[in-house]
Symmetry: C2
Subunit: 140 residues, 2 copies
DNA sequence: GTTTGCTCCTCTAGTTATTAGAGCATGTAA
DNA sequence: TTACATGCTCTAATAACTAGAGGAGCAAAC
């Protein structure tokens, strides 16, 4: 079980050094062993856990959701409905964001097209944003 | 110019009461008039400004970008290239986010489809998150 | 053998955009 | 007049880090 320093753990896992310490502090990562000189030594299991966390973060999971997933991972006899539910919730959120970002993209494009490159008084960028009734997407 | 209380301003603009006070504090909103009893009175122009800010926030603009837009709005003799540039920058950001959210949506769907609703030990949701090699999108 | 430079340690404070709460004053309706 | 809502200021919390101060340890070059 080759143990590595925090810098190497960071390089291997892709999680930055201060972030690793932060994860330890908030209990997402178990407190690692230390050298005589009080330096952290990370085992393979820690590196896997870090990779898991990083991957989850990339997918937009919040730390609380990740904490829940890790708890499930730590006792694998549990039924997986909870993990499924967390992923589904994520998916719902992602799809909501996708919808509003698409509306936004449309509006920004329209704004940029509409801008006659004159002065602000005729510039639709501000007009559209200031005047709610000119807004194209209807979810608000 | 009918003036309204902060609560009504919140109801009309859709910006929450503490948030309105916060915007005032950071100088995004001018200090409003006060009653004898030291209560804020918001004029129509304030309400429009709040709607503008809220709308910008919904569109994903950061407060600094909004501050820049408001500054342009406040002196409309300026050319609108700056506002145009801000909108274009935003559009780029939005399109980047759209791309990564779409990839994410795909992966989450795959994870959820793969979940056999058994125990955590066979749950693909966790498995996929733990095992990088099973990850479909290749941007990391 | 010591100096250079990198990595590590802890601790505190900063970031963004709010939100929450304490403790008190004021306005409105029954 | 007695509730109860709404307002005020101030401080502190939230998420998820990031940055910096001030100091110690380690490896290699000179």
């Amino acid at each position: 079980m080759n143990e590595v320093s925090i810098g190497n753990a960071a390089r291997i896992s892709g999680v930055k050094v201060p972030t690793i310490r932060f994860y330890e502090e908030i209990g997402l990562l178990p407190r690692p062993a230390r050298t005589n000189a009080n330096r952290r030594l990370f085992a393979d299991s820690d590196l896997r856990r870090l990779a898991f966390i990083r991957h989850c973060r990339e997918l937009g999971f919040e730390l609380d959701a990740i904490r829940a997933l890790l708890k499930l991972q730590d006792n694998p006899k549990e039924p997986c409905e909870a993990a499924d539910a967390i992923a589904k919730e994520r998916l719902g959120e992602v799809e909501r964001r996708l919808r509003s970002l698409k509306a936004l993209q449309k509006e920004l494009k329209r704004m940029i097209d509409g801008c006659s490159h004159g002065h602000v008084s005729q510039c639709r960028v501000i007009e559209v944003l200031a005047n709610h009734s000119k807004c194209m997407h209807d979810n608000h």
